[in-house]
């Protein structure tokens, strides 16, 4: 039960922290709001309105905890396009039309939230989204570079803007006025502040975010001219922020006269698509930063964002999305609940009311510098580098999406990105059928293993961005402190998007005290050496499995080996003859063993194995993890297990059921089978019986000079491998202490 008194006490005690965090966030939100609005071609105050409305509405109705809402980067491109084209060049009229589009898109988002369509964002492949974000970054960069160098009338599409940029720089040195040069220098210095703010070590100076530093410095610069210098402020009024005379009155009226024209509908759809994707991506990323590991209710958040966009549009503001940079600043400064979002809006109102005159002193070039840096961050080469590591095909998708987005528009761009991903997947698998015939079939089974309490998730056929939501629905239904095993051994193809998402889950589960293991990927071939590379069951012709290309599970196993100072060998071994001396493998065909943890001194060996049963190979293919312990002495052949599933096999090999005298409980719980009863009675001393009784159950078999230990007939998770090792080491200790002499028996 939820203790309401406790939660409200908690809320109150956290209030100062959130107030402070909201204040720090408002320091960034102010310059960013102005800048994003300017970059969108809208009046600067519209960005602040969006942040204020977003802060208040989403704080009240939202479903996430530490996110901040406001005007978003991704929208700049769409909004600028809408404002400059909807009224064929008349920017103010275009702005009024766009406000109507923002209100409509808010209503659409509200609908998406009510229909619980938040899952739609899961249908976008990672690399295509990265490409789209990079394209947005390039577009912002292209336009704002001009503004930063005081060229505010630059026109044309992204490519033209990039091509004409060098001539602007040249023009600056040859024919610019003093005013332009001063403005451009402010822009350049602001960019340097953005770039090197991270290097500040002093915690108090660092507390003020870079954009606020820029604002404070440029305002101070203008006051210098007003009070100390005899010269006039060198920057022309056209290059300064314009605010309405009274921010509290004269809200513009949205113009709905274009309501059902195709152009207008296109803008509404684009705004909705981009704001939903940006918001959902941000929420997902911020949830992983939340120190309390709460899960956001994305559909409720979408409803709140939609409502906020409607209100914001009615007041003349831009639309409201969840923004990642401001949210992460919020988390870093101790924001712990939605009140931080509210306080960020509250401080913005204070700023606008108290410092209107000061805000009018900010040069546009300074704000452009902030946006140039934002654009650069979105399209930074490090994104490309990390994608290139995963595989060439991801680079291809990334670039196709960027080029398509820049040359057409965002919606066409992202859909071309999705299409190219699909085509790449088909080419990689050389099969359309795999995707066509299994596209709508369920492919995920999740169940709780009754004996161990693990959650076992098996994925079949293929697993890619197209059917990821099915896997996600199943994973979301597992308590986050549970032990999860995701098994891909029945899955022919696993793409990068799915693996990246799974890594996120892995973090959530391990941080909440659960465990999350991904099995069955080790046997797949890959296209590169990156751990998240696309994997499919039949090996890629150009890539051989290498030692460096380990899955997450293999790396974890390597670490386990390292902890024990053992060696680890992931390579598949096909020479496994000694294993056949165990009755367990008598009727099975071992295909290979791999992922070996080897201890040379005591001859412990943990390994995964794939084996088949039955005469016709395809009958049944199984994988399991075993521990084998070579012994220095001879012990009787026996097998000890709980289920009598395999008994026929052992009877077939001449084994008989044996009850140990004076241990009825042991005899009841375990099936002990062996060839020679006398040997077993001498070997199973009280100490050994007690050991088995007091430890968790394992299937154990002896072939005379080695022991084979197995938990269940499937691959073990890393956690289970550790438990297996611990059990094996203790078992080995007991067995080597036993004074069992086979020769002695014979003489009796």
């Amino acid at each position: 039960m939820i203790n309401f008194k406790n939660t409200s006490m908690n809320f109150l005690s956290n209030l100062p922290k959130n107030m402070f965090s909201g204040f720090v966030v408002s320091l960034i939100a102010l310059p960013l709001g102005l800048g994003l609005a300017l970059a969108s071609g809208a009046p600067p105050i519209s960005g602040i309105i969006a942040a204020i409305v977003g802060g208040i509405v989403v704080a009240i109705f939202g479903g996430s905890h530490v996110t901040i809402a406001g005007p978003g980067n991704g929208l700049v491109v769409v909004l600028l396009g809408a404002i400059s084209t909807l009224a064929s060049g008349d920017l103010y009229q275009g702005y009024l039309f766009t406000l109507a589009a923002i209100i409509c898109s808010g209503a659409l988002m509200l609908l998406i939230g009510f229909l619980r369509l938040g899952i739609l964002s899961d249908f976008f492949p990672s690399s295509a989204i990265q490409g789209m974000l990079a394209a947005i970054g390039i577009s912002i960069l292209a336009k704002q570079l001009h503004v930063m160098f005081a060229n505010t009338d630059a026109q044309g599409d992204t490519i033209e803007l990039l091509l004409t940029f060098p001539s602007v720089v040249v023009g600056l040195f040859s024919q610019a006025t003093a005013s332009t040069i001063a403005a451009a220098s402010i822009g350049l210095i602001s960019l340097l502040i953005m770039r090197f703010h991270g290097a500040i070590r002093n915690p108090y100076l660092k507390l003020i975010p870079a954009p606020m530093w820029i604002v404070v410095l440029v305002i101070g610069y203008s006051y210098y001219y007003e009070f100390f210098s005899s010269e006039t402020y060198p920057i022309a009024t056209a290059l300064l922020v314009q605010l309405p005379d009274s921010v509290l009155s004269g809200f513009p009226t949205p113009d709905f006269s274009l309501l059902f024209t195709p152009q207008f509908i296109g803008v509404v759809l684009a705004i909705t698509l981009i704001s939903s994707i940006e918001s959902l991506l941000s929420i997902k990323a911020i949830d992983q930063l939340d120190p309390e590991r709460r899960r956001s209710n994305v559909n409720r958040d979408l409803k709140a964002l939609g409502l906020a966009s409607i209100v914001s549009g009615l007041l003349g503001g831009l639309n409201v999305v969840t923004v990642i940079a401001r949210s992460s600043v919020n988390v870093n400064n101790g924001g712990s609940n939605r009140s931080a979002n509210f306080f960020h809006a509250f401080f913005l109102i204070l700023f606008v009311l108290l410092f209107q005159d000061q805000l009018r002193r900010i040069p546009l070039t300074a704000l452009a510098a902030i946006l140039v840096y934002t654009g650069y961050k979105l399209a930074s080469p490090s994104t490309l580098k990390s994608i290139a590591k995963i595989g060439n095909e991801q680079v291809f998708i990334f670039f196709v999406t960027i080029i398509a987005t820049i040359t057409t528009n965002l919606i066409t761009g992202i859909f071309i990105g999705i299409l190219s991903t699909l085509i790449i997947h088909i080419i990689l698998n050389k099969s359309v059928l795999l995707f066509l015939s299994n596209a709508i079939r369920p492919n995920v089974l999740m169940f709780k293993e009754q004996a161990q309490g693990n959650y076992f998730v098996s994925v079949k056929n293929f697993s890619s961005f197209m059917n990821y939501y099915k896997l996600k629905n199943n994973l979301d239904a597992i308590p986050i402190n549970g032990d999860v095993i995701v098994d891909f051994s029945l899955c022919e193809f696993v793409d990068f998007t799915v693996q990246e998402h799974l890594l996120g889950y892995q973090e959530i589960f391990t941080r909440n005290g659960g465990s999350f293991d991904i099995n069955g990927l080790d046997i797949h071939g890959t296209s590169s050496t990156h751990p998240l590379a696309v994997r499919r069951l039949l090996s890629f012709s150009n890539a051989k499995k290498t030692k460096t290309n380990l899955t997450k599970r293999q790396k974890d196993l390597q670490n386990v080996a390292h902890d024990f100072e053992w060696s680890y060998n992931p390579v598949k071994l096909y020479e496994v003859n000694p294993l056949y001396s165990f009755v367990f493998f008598k009727l099975k065909k071992i295909n290979f063993i791999h992922n070996q943890l080897i201890d040379e001194h005591t001859n412990f060996n943990v390994f995964d194995t794939e084996y088949t049963e039955g005469e016709f190979i395809s009958q049944k293919q199984l994988r399991a993890t075993f521990l084998s312990i070579k012994l220095k002495k001879t012990i009787p052949n026996f097998t000890l297990h709980k289920e009598d599933l395999l008994n026929f096999l052992y009877r077939f090999s001449g084994f008989k059921d044996i009850d140990i005298k004076d241990h009825p409980d042991f005899s009841k719980r375990f099936f002990l089978m062996a060839e020679n009863k006398a040997e077993i009675e001498a070997f199973f001393t009280d100490a050994l019986v007690l050991f088995f009784e007091s430890n968790p159950y394992y299937h154990i078999e002896s072939n005379g000079n080695a022991l084979l230990v197995m938990k269940t007939e499937r691959l073990a998770s890393v956690k289970e491998v550790k438990a297996l090792l611990d059990f094996g080491i203790r078992l080995h200790k007991i067995v080597s202490k036993l004074k069992y002499e086979p020769n002695l028996l014979k003489t009796l």
Partner: protein, 286 residues
């Protein structure tokens, strides 16, 4: 008398075609006759020739020393589906055996359109073998559905009959609980907690129900086999097949579907999932 104690499978019917699979199909059928001590009806849709008769006689000779009329052969021309269904009706067959064809990649099996039609129209139980073989394959682990349905009792009886005759060691009763029954959509931590709780309650409720059904089954049938109950949340029909594949079951036993309509083939559910991708040998109990 307990209905479970009377033998359910007294007459087995198998359609034979003179394909390379003929020998394996007949061997599988004869073994079943051996284990169940029942009668066998062989149906061939096509012309009766001396040659064919000779082949059949030769294949049967290994099993049947005393010609006591256990095996009957029917030769008939016509539509294969109709002939087999009619023969099953006329001979009072309790079980129709069908062999599946392996798919291009060896990991999957599917059954042809004729076999599918037979499954849908059969008046009795149907056994689908994914890989009929010459040699005996032990049937160690049987997976059976434990749906909340009045047919389940009969299906469980049949499962125990199979388990006993085939000397199976483990029988897992899978309850597929539809996600719709949970009624909570997981959106955040609170709804996750709620849905986990509801699932736990549903599993317990279903386990109690299965235990009640199990009580009705005579103990001599239950003694030799280990019984396990596994609740699964997922799409009906689909999840049990996937489960059978994961645990490496040798036989999957299911209730016959209520009624298959045209829509079911477009939006497959229940049986259609199993038929489109056989996880292992499947017995459909009617």
């Amino acid at each position: 008398m307990n209905p479970c104690l009377s033998q359910k499978f007294k007459t087995v019917l198998i359609g034979v075609a003179f394909s390379p699979n003929l020998q394996n199909n007949i061997f599988e059928a004869m073994r079943l006759v051996d284990f169940f001590d029942c009668r066998l009806v062989l149906v061939h849709v096509g012309e009766k020739t001396k040659e064919k008769q000779e082949t059949i006689r030769h294949l049967l000779s290994g099993f049947e020393d005393d010609d006591d009329g256990k095996v009957k052969m029917i030769w008939k021309d016509g539509n294969p589906v109709e002939v087999i269904i009619k023969s099953a009706q006329s001979t009072n067959a309790d079980l129709i055996m069908l062999g599946a064809t392996p798919r291009e990649d060896i990991l999957k099996f599917y059954i042809g359109s004729i076999a599918r039609k037979i499954v849908r129209k059969a008046p009795c139980s149907v056994l689908l073998l994914i890989k009929p073989s010459e040699d005996l394959r032990p049937c160690r682990h049987i997976v059976v559905n434990g749906l909340n349905n009045n047919k389940t009792q009969e299906t469980l009886c049949a499962s125990f009959e199979f388990a006993q005759n085939l000397d199976s060691k483990q029988l897992t009763i899978v309850e597929e609980i539809s996600k719709k029954d949970v009624k909570v959509i997981v959106q955040d931590n609170k709804s996750l907690l709620k849905s986990t709780l509801i699932k736990e309650q549903l599993s317990q409720k279903q386990a109690l129900r299965v235990h009640d059904v199990l009580k009705e089954i005579p103990s001599q049938l239950k003694s030799a086999v280990k019984i396990k109950i596994q609740p699964i949340f997922g799409q009906r029909g689909y999840s049990i097949g996937h489960y059978a594949k994961i645990v490496g079951a040798d036989l999957l036993i299911m209730n016959a579907p209520e009624k298959s309509t045209f829509l079911d083939r477009i939006f497959p559910h229940d049986m259609e999932y199993i038929l489109s991708e056989l996880p292992t040998d499947v017995l459909i109990v009617r």
